[in-house]
């Protein structure tokens, strides 16, 4: 927009300056040329009068003196001839010079003088002017003047230089004005753009200047600031709600948990089943609550990252997979699932903090152990592929139909086949949020020949320096 605005404004300025300067240049040149011709013609007329006198009195002495004096004074060549073309007086010009005979002939025929073209600063050719001697009816000779245009051309040059300099100055002023105007209009727009980007990136209380530009844009900036404040307030309320819920809800759940634990001694055999049920419910409550907090934290991290909070943290996927396998081994054994770690020790350094990859892996491994079924084999693997790190948690269990795989990462989604499932339905949603916030992807795919793969691709950490 700035380029177009400037282009239009500049084109207009150039046009205006040209329209003003061009006629001025032409008229200046023409006026000076006219003055040149008039003065020279007047000189010739005077010489012609003297020549007429000389013809009548048959005495050329005065005429010759005049012509000589003129030549000495102006350095212009002049010749006066009679009707036969015989020179009566000459100085600096002869009948042998080019164009002179033609000029004499035309003058003797009393043809109107051919006026020269308008002079230009670079005109150098001498101008030939001729007038008849005598009256209109009785021509008794001709006077020819060859005049240098140097002085007139120099005058025109000076005048043109002045005009062009003025035009240039005007053009510069116009350009400056155009730039100022463009800046005045565009700065608030740029400011607004910065503000919108900041809000989109999750910056809190993004504020833009309200004193710039036209009134309409100032009003817009004001509205934007009010909107930004409202968005910030809403975001703050939301995160405060999460923080408050974290504190207010954790404590009662923690009390409940401890109390239920200490009741165990007093449970009679009859009440054992009910007690187990309560314990399971409390555990589910804990897990759901923990997941909600994790999701809120993942959302917050994503917002912070989008706002440009660069994190240098990285982790080695191989190391973490080997470590996580150890941690999950007993759970896998209990479920009758074989759990295997990557075969290579080769590090796969991902641009993802260790704590986040751990969270993602735990969700995927937990799901695999829970749902792959007894006798299944869960493989943990990672590699560098196409410049990105690829981590896969693959099982050879029953897997999921395609339409379930597509929605497995949506919040609160639970597989319908697991009616007794105690999951919160948030695990994969949290995992996906964590991975995508770091520029990665998380997909739930079908394994070959059967089973499920949770596959993540994550940007590699920058090469560590020596």
């Amino acid at each position: 927009m700035r380029r177009r605005l400037l282009l239009v404004l500049l084109a207009f300025s150039v046009l205006a300056v040209t329209a003003f300067a061009w006629p001025l240049l032409v008229s200046t040149a023409s006026e000076r040329t006219q003055r040149f011709v008039i003065t020279r013609t007047a000189d010739l007329d005077r010489i012609a009068d003297v020549a007429q006198q000389a013809v009548l009195e048959h005495d050329n002495a005065d005429l010759r003196a005049e012509v000589r004096a003129y030549h000495d004074l102006y350095a212009d060549g002049m010749i006066v001839v009679d009707t036969t073309g015989k020179p009566l007086a000459a100085a600096g010009l002869s009948m042998d010079d080019p164009d002179v005979p033609e000029a004499v002939t035309a003058a003797l025929r009393n043809q109107p003088a051919v006026l020269p073209h308008d002079l230009r600063p670079w005109s150098a050719d001498d101008v030939l002017l001729a007038v008849p001697i005598g009256t209109d009816t009785r021509v008794s000779g001709a006077a020819v003047l060859r005049s240098s245009v140097a002085a007139a051309a120099a005058d025109i040059g000076k005048a043109w230089a002045l005009i062009l300099a003025t035009a240039l100055a005007a053009a510069v002023v116009c350009v400056l004005l155009a730039l100022l105007l463009a800046r005045w209009v565009l700065r608030p727009l740029r400011e607004l753009e910065r503000g919108v980007l900041a809000v989109a990136a999750g910056e809190r209380d993004a504020h833009i200047g309200e004193r710039l530009g036209p009134r309409e844009l100032r009003a817009l900036a004001g509205s934007f600031n009010r909107m930004s404040a409202a968005v910030t307030a809403a975001a703050e309320q939301q995160s405060r709600l999460v923080a408050d819920a974290s504190h207010e809800l954790r404590s009662p759940i923690a009390r409940l948990r401890l109390t239920v634990d200490s009741l165990h001694r007093h449970v009679t055999p009859d009440g054992e089943a009910g007690y187990r049920r309560i314990l399971a419910e409390v555990e589910e409550l804990e897990s759901l609550f923990g997941s909600l907090l994790n999701l809120a934290a993942a959302d917050r991290t994503a917002t912070e990252l989008a706002a440009g909070a660069g994190v240098e943290d990285s982790c080695d996927a191989t190391e973490l997979l080997v470590e996580r396998r150890e941690t999950w081994l007993s759970a896998a054994d209990q479920a009758g699932v074989r759990l295997s770690a990557p075969e290579s020790d080769c590090p796969v350094q991902l641009a993802l903090p260790e704590t986040e990859l751990k969270q993602v892996l735990d969700v995927a491994i937990d799901n695999a152990i829970k749902y792959a079924g007894e006798g299944a084999h869960v493989r943990l693997d990672c590699e560098v592929a196409a410049g990105r790190g690829r981590v896969a948690i693959a099982d050879d269990g029953p897997g999921l139909p395609a339409r379930d795989r597509a929605v497995a990462t949506t919040r609160f989604w639970r597989s319908r086949r697991d009616h007794a499932s105690t999951g919160s339905g948030l695990g994969l949603a949290i995992a996906e949020r964590l991975v995508t916030a770091r520029g990665g992807t998380l997909h739930v795919l079908a394994n070959v020949p059967k089973g499920l793969v949770v596959e993540l691709t994550v940007p590699l950490a920058e090469e560590a320096g020596p």
Binding site: R257, S262, V322, G465
Partner: protein, 237 residues
């Protein structure tokens, strides 16, 4: 500061040592629940609700349970204050589940942490573990550290697991030995790198990961080396 043995006390789980536990917690109901659990096992809980009181009362305690959210300030500040004057084991209890806070607590010298809600037996197990480590750390490290069926001979630089010698590279042994000397205590990643390599650059961090991976495979004792994510490692104590 070590646990004061007070003779056998007949309680559940064969626990013999009654501990004086200082509970720094502002939530009355929660404090009461925790106190009941502790008292049932023969421990002697004392409860204060302000961080300021903790600074005064820690002398009479064998272990401190510290809530990070306190009415008179951040529990982390209380922890910093405590660490200036005492080595008493501190177990951080928190409703704040975010890793950054927990890692900061570890950096400030917390011995372990528990995120609410937790189970009663988990609390007791953690207290036991913390006390055990604190006792170990008071003694000079032995020449041979034995964990489960793994013997780490620090002098001879040999490791025997389940009766068979495990062949480790020099760096792998250095990593294991550094953890073994502080057995049961979390060792910061940077500190581990510094002791093994003499510097803690990013390239070293990668190579440390590779050595730990291979160490785990060679030892094949799941859970022997625990990772405290975002902080460091700990050899089972």
């Amino acid at each position: 500061m070590t646990a004061q043995p007070r003779g056998p006390v007949a309680v559940e789980g064969g626990r013999r040592n009654a501990l004086r536990v200082l509970l720094v917690e502002d939530d009355d109901n929660f404090a009461e629940s925790v106190a009941k659990v502790l008292a049932r096992l023969g421990h002697e809980p004392t409860r204060v609700s302000h961080g300021g009181d903790a600074a005064v009362r820690h002398r009479d305690a064998d272990v401190v349970l510290l809530d990070l959210m306190l009415p008179d300030g951040n529990g982390l500040d209380v922890l910093r204050g405590l660490r200036k004057v005492t080595d008493v084991p501190v177990l951080v209890l928190t409703a704040v589940g975010d890793t950054r806070t927990l890692v900061r607590a570890l950096h400030l010298g917390a011995d372990d942490y528990l995120v609410k809600p937790f189970r009663a037996d988990e609390l007791l197990a953690r207290i036991d573990a913390v006390m055990r480590r604190s006792k170990l750390s008071d003694q000079p490290p032995p020449q041979v550290v034995t964990v489960r069926d793994v013997e780490i001979d620090l002098g001879a630089r040999r490791v025997v697991a389940g009766g068979a010698e495990v062949s480790l590279t020099g760096t792998e042994f250095d990593v294991l030995a550094t953890l073994a000397r502080r057995r049961g205590t979390a060792v910061e990643r940077e500190r581990l790198m510094d002791e093994v390599y003499g510097d803690a650059s990013r390239a070293r961090s990668q190579s440390l990961g590779v050595h730990l991976t291979s160490l785990r495979r060679k030892l094949d004792r799941p859970g022997l080396i625990a990772t405290l994510h975002g902080f460091g490692y700990r050899l089972e104590g």
